[in-house]
Symmetry: C2
Subunit: 237 residues, 2 copies
């Protein structure tokens, strides 16, 4: 009866798409701007990578010279304070980008929450493509703005919302990011991250998160809750 951890959404093994033509996130990625000729070239040169659960795509303070597009799986982005406190600044879902700019000192760490699959575009390679496809740069600018706006929403959440509001906002955010279609059907939303990560994203303690989830369940805002997924009440309820 409870949302099972063995539900289909949870256990797709990361699998390299046969070609870009079949790529699930093609339309959201920079590839959408490429003409057929460029696409062929990209397909030959671009690196694909699987990233095992817990492994980092980049580390805070270390150099990074590639743009990654997440095709399957999920990541957490996090920053550390000197004394070890950690803050999760965001989660990455399929279609999202990491490393929009090359940096000598990455501002954050990106760690896989599950076995994941990414496309890797070294920036020097990307610059060459951009010469022929100026739209690529526009897409990078646009994506940077999207990230910034998400960060601003996060700031509002942390600065002004109560624990209960934070948790509800978070759950809807994940549902929108993963669930995708928002067709109104009652769907199970996977939560690939552990509670501690959610708490560190929301600026709450683990225990407070747990209590708040329980309260939302009791209040009816959450239909079903298991370790790795939730079913949210539809807004019309």
């Amino acid at each position: 009866m409870s949302a099972s951890a063995s539900s289909p959404v949870m256990c797709r093994a990361p699998q390299r798409p046969a070609s870009c033509d079949l790529c699930v996130v093609r339309e959201q990625s920079i590839c959408a701007d490429l003409g057929p000729r460029e696409l062929v070239e990209v397909e030959k040169t671009m690196a694909r990578r699987t990233v095992a659960k817990g492994r980092a795509l980049m580390q805070e303070g270390e150099p990074n010279d590639s743009l990654y597009v997440l095709v399957q799986g999920s990541f957490r982005l996090l920053k550390h304070l000197e004394d070890g406190r950690r803050q999760i600044t965001g989660f990455i879902f399929p279609g999202d980008f990491v490393g929009v700019r090359p940096t000598g000192e990455s501002a954050y760490t990106a760690e896989a929450l599950e076995d994941s699959f990414v496309c890797c575009f070294p920036h020097k390679f990307l610059d060459a493509i951009a010469d022929r496809c100026p739209d690529v740069k526009d897409r990078l600018i646009a994506r940077g703005q999207t990230e910034y706006h998400k960060a601003q929403d996060h700031i509002v959440l942390l600065g002004k919302k109560t624990a209960e509001e934070r948790v509800e906002s978070f759950l809807h955010l994940v549902a929108k990011s993963i669930g995708g279609d928002g067709d109104g059907a009652v769907t199970e939303t996977p939560l690939p991250m552990p509670r501690q990560d959610i708490a560190d994203y929301l600026g709450l303690r683990l225990e407070t998160l747990s209590r708040t989830l329980a309260a939302l369940k009791k209040r009816g805002a959450i239909r079903e809750l298991s370790r790795r997924s939730v079913v949210l009440a539809t807004p019309s309820d």
Copy 2:
């Protein structure tokens, strides 16, 4: 003895620089990438604007089609929650950009904290320049990343820091943004924003901010404190 509100830093009237050659923020702006020919063109076409204290450069939810570069003065960026709570997501100081992308629905409001002076680049005009100076787009991408990183630091501040840490981080941030040179000399840092804006930036109540400032003064982290400026203790103290 206390930092006087009539100190020179506080009362520069916004004044249009005679030409881009004299622009104080030239090197930080997109103009730095322009060749002499483009610069002449920019200087003829670009709009300059003074913005009176309290006036908005753009409004949350309303369209915006220009990039603004702040030359003199300061702005607050803010977002509203449906019930009226407001969160300040950032402050803008000379050299900073607002409106990196044209949008039909601006994500935030930008209001002048004092009489200010901006250069205004309509995006359609900017695109034309970018065709001849591809570096301009790189600079926009880079600036977008800088904004994003600042937002991430803000997220860490709100999610993990105590009231006292937040206030201290904020004061150092402003000192670095405005004071500029960080030459170690004991300098008065202007605070062009009212206490309520600082509180709304830090996710604290006005009263808590006031008490915390008092505590920092007592502890010695703040040398002098007045309504519109602070003198911070040097780290070596």
